[in-house]
């Protein structure tokens, strides 16, 4: 019983760390590209408001990045503390992928971030733009390696098992495993959408506070256009990803769709309470044959049900519900972004006044909509892989450590308290920054000031610390 408790606790702890961690890289990946966009617009047009937008968002970027780094370090340690069996069994594959992330991406981002945040007065404009580009490239490269590994855990390929350990037969097949292209695209679009709604939401918040200068409008339009552009792509990518899941992880797909028995002409279930004991959905509301249509492109196409994976399918209710939350958020994103973009369209006169208050409020409410969809999607795919850690190769139970339950429970409660406090702090600081564009004691970043750039007042003794 003790072992089981420790396993459950270790899983909760890892899931908590993962959930907390994923929130921040998801923002920094795309926000870095948005910053590069602002910077390039500034370089091209010379209009100050693009630089103002950069200065505003770079603060949020720095904060986000810091949270991503510290929680990422926690992740790298928890592989060992919670899942020693993972690296012992598939270390030959996971090792190089993780190593390449650190080597090619981590240092690059961390070092260039310093130049990007603090170096504008010390390097040329061009070098500062290059530093921004390198940070953006670094974050994306980082995501590439991590998703290669994560996808491989879902759809392992390019290896053989020798004496209980995975050995690589083809690195190309390992990296570009069957689900990687879909997962990577889906995740990158999710990152873009998260940032689009973050930028649109915070800008709308400022807009509602009657702050409607060129800088805020630039952010507002960038966010809304980006959201409206990305959401149809995401729906398409999600569909392809689903088809890929049906092919390679049919048990997960059956759980997502709530299909208990293999059948033809399956309905798209809109609402139900999956009942694992009775092996059926209660209170099911579905649209007949629709799931068969979008999954097999035939009204009577056959879809495999959970009955084919007895004892080896994931817990149904969490996957089923997480999937619906993700899709629901996607639909909401589609509605809100397209209704807003129509108001801001270039043919309208004075778009600043054309955005309706209710639309702005809806955008504010959806500032962190990306996070909801992201976490729901993440749970869909990760819980959907259970009971496997690496599909067909290693179960979570086999990879768990011998650390006793009380130790895990103790640190888990510390982590949870810390994470809750930090998420509250993060969200409130984002909105605080939106209210107070330059905090009185900003002390640090790109705006020339006595602390960071003391060359401007070298006469004052004791102020000279670069």
């Amino acid at each position: 019983m003790d072992g089981l408790d420790a396993l459950v606790l270790a899983r909760i702890q890892f899931a908590a760390n993962m959930t907390f961690h994923i929130l921040f890289p998801t923002i920094s990946i795309s926000l870095a590209w948005v910053l590069l966009f602002f910077k390039l617009r500034f370089v091209k047009t010379g209009q100050q408001h693009w630089m103002d937008a950069y200065q505003f968002w770079v603060k949020i970027f720095a904060l986000t990045f810091a949270l991503g780094v510290v929680s990422g370090i926690t992740m790298s340690f928890q592989f060992g503390t919670n899942w020693p069996g993972f690296m012992e069994k598939v270390g030959n594959i996971a090792g190089p992928l993780l190593a390449y992330e650190v080597l090619t991406a981590f240092f690059l981002e961390a070092t260039m971030l310093g130049v990007m945040l603090f170096g504008r007065a010390r390097v040329s404009e061009k070098m500062h733009t290059i530093a921004t580009l390198l940070v953006a490239g670094g974050t994306t490269l980082s995501a590439f390696w991590i998703l290669a590994l994560n996808s491989w855990m879902h759809t392992p390929a390019g290896f053989e098992m020798i004496a209980g350990k995975a050995h690589v037969t083809s690195w190309l097949e390992v990296i570009f495993n069957p689900s990687f292209p879909y997962r990577f695209t889906h995740m990158m679009l999710a990152s873009g959408l998260t940032v689009a709604f973050l930028v649109a939401g915070v800008s709308s918040y400022r807009w509602l506070r009657q702050e409607r200068g060129a800088e805020v409008m630039a952010g507002l339009k960038t966010g809304i256009y980006l959201a409206a552009f990305l959401i149809p792509l995401q729906i398409l990518a999600g569909d392809f990803h689903g088809l890929n899941t049906m092919e390679h992880q049919p048990a997960k797909l059956a759980a997502m769709e709530g299909i208990w028995q293999t059948q033809k002409g399956v309905p798209a279930v809109l609402f139900a309470l999956p009942d694992e004991k009775a092996k059926e959905n209660r209170y099911e509301i579905g649209i007949p044959k629709l799931a068969s249509l979008y999954l097999t492109h035939h009204l009577d196409g056959e879809v495999r049900g959970l009955n084919e994976f007895e004892g080896k399918h994931p817990p149904v209710a969490p996957v089923f519900w997480a999937f619906r939350i993700m899709v629901g958020m996607g639909m909401l994103m589609l509605a809100v972004s397209w209704s807003s973009v129509l108001q801001l369209a270039p043919w309208k006169k004075d778009p600043a006044r054309n955005l309706r208050n209710w639309q702005a409020r809806a955008l504010v409410a959806m500032t962190f909509a990306g996070w909801v969809a992201l976490v729901a999607g993440w749970y869909t795919t990760e819980i959907g892989r259970q009971p496997w850690l690496v599909s067909g190769v290693l179960t979570a139970a086999d990879a768990a450590s011998q650390v006793v339950a009380p130790k895990i429970a103790f640190t888990l409660s510390l982590y949870l308290a810390l994470y809750a406090a930090l998420i509250v702090a993060y969200v409130s600081v984002v909105f605080y920054l939106a209210r107070h564009k330059t905090p009185a004691d900003s002390g640090m970043e790109d705006t020339p000031n006595p602390v960071t750039y003391p060359e401007q007042q070298t006469s004052q003794p004791g102020a000279a610390h670069a």
Binding site: A62, L63, F65, A66, V69, V70, I73, T74, S76, F77, F79, T81, P84, E88, G91, A94, G95, P96, L98, A99, Y100, V102, L103, F106, F107, L108, A110, T111, L113, G114, V115, F118, G119, R122, M127, H167, V168, Q402, V403, K407, L414, Y415, A425, V429, Y432, L433, D441, S442, M444, E445, V451, P454, E455, T458, P461, G462, A463, A464, H465, A466
Partner: protein
């Protein structure tokens, strides 16, 4: 000791040694680089409000990249020596958790303190200080555990806790040395006083470790106190003592010189402390090689397949020089104090 090694002309024989070297260097780089900014974080507690901002500004562009060396060091342990990674981190579960929470607090407080509501700033300052303290002490504790082979008797735990204090003061010494270089005026003089205070603690700590380590670990005792090793190794403690004396002298002279506006020798305390770290590292590496877990798991037992090591090595050979290159670039960009570098 090398008779345990497989044939060194084969990849499975020499590659683990290469990676142990890279891991050691990454850890050394981490201890020196993050050491000074953790030290600055701990010293912040006894600084004035204005000085706090200056101290933070002195480490602002660097701390993130500094911390990345830890990720590389642990990353190599995780990716190249997975069999030992699980054992080590499992045994260090609680100190690792404490370090992670400390590093998290420090890292986020750094950003939050300047962005949050002004009334919250003291709170984030305290979090910054507490995080630096927790991370530093737990790293020392882990170092102690490594030396003692993760034993958990009462004496060993006390020993580990003392090493935690020693590393903490060594970081403060590094941090104070860094501030002597990077700051000016009253803060610079304050940094000299901090350095003097932490110098004694550091010296006492290193002396205690040098005496206690062979006593606590039989394996290490045998390596140091057998002939001719004892003669060959003698330069390490002697050179360490000389360096301490040099740092001490320079700290005595600096206040007068600085008062006259003469900055000659401001590099000595920081450079000298790095020298002490290098020597301590060398001594430790000698004590532990080739074990990852003393007397239990060596590097060859813990390594992944030679093919996978080769893949990582190929990347490391290309990328590590680039990393060193842009790290140097970053330090050059932010070189000096006030307006020393303008583009």
């Amino acid at each position: 000791m090398l008779d345990m090694a497989p044939n060194l002309t084969q990849a499975a024989g020499w590659m683990p040694i290469v990676f142990l070297g890279v891991m050691g260097l990454a850890m050394l780089a981490y201890v020196i680089l993050d050491g000074y900014d953790l030290g600055v974080g701990m010293l912040m507690r006894s600084a004035s409000e204005d000085d706090k901002d200056s101290m933070i500004a002195s480490i602002g562009p660097f701390w993130d990249a500094n911390e990345t060396w830890l990720v590389l060091g642990v990353g190599i342990l995780l990716t190249v020596f997975p069999m030992a990674h699980g054992v080590i981190l499992g045994a260090l579960y609680l100190p690792v958790a404490m370090m992670l929470i400390g590093l998290t607090l420090r890292g986020v407080a750094f950003d939050f303190r300047v962005k949050a509501h002004a009334a919250r700033k003291p709170l984030w300052n305290r979090a910054f200080y507490a995080g630096s303290l927790m991370a530093s002490w737990s790293q020392g504790y882990m170092l102690g555990s490594l030396i003692t082979g993760f034993a958990t008797t009462g004496w060993v735990i006390a020993f580990n806790a003392v090493i935690g204090l020693a590393l903490l003061s060594a970081y403060c010494l590094l941090g104070a040395g860094w501030l002597i270089i990077k700051s000016g005026g009253a803060l610079q003089l304050q940094a000299v006083r901090w350095a003097r205070a932490s110098l004694w603690l550091t010296m006492a700590g290193i002396a205690a470790i040098s005496l206690a380590t062979p006593w606590v670990s039989r394996a290490i005792f045998d390596k140091w106190f057998s002939f001719p090793n004892i003669v060959l190794l003698l330069p390490i403690p002697v050179a360490t003592a000389v360096l301490f004396w040099v740092i001490h002298r320079s700290l005595q002279r600096l206040p007068t010189r600085l008062a006259q506006g003469n900055e000659y020798g401001i590099w000595v305390p920081f450079g000298g402390t790095i020298g002490v770290f290098l020597l301590a590292f060398y001594g430790l590496a000698y004590s532990l090689f080739p074990w990852l877990v003393i007397d239990r798991i060596n590097i060859w037992q813990a390594a992944i397949s030679p093919e996978s090591m080769g893949v990582i090595l190929a990347g490391a050979v290309v990328v590590l020089p680039m990393i060193i290159g842009y790290t140097v670039f970053s330090y050059r960009v932010f070189w000096g104090k006030s307006g020393a570098l303008k583009y």
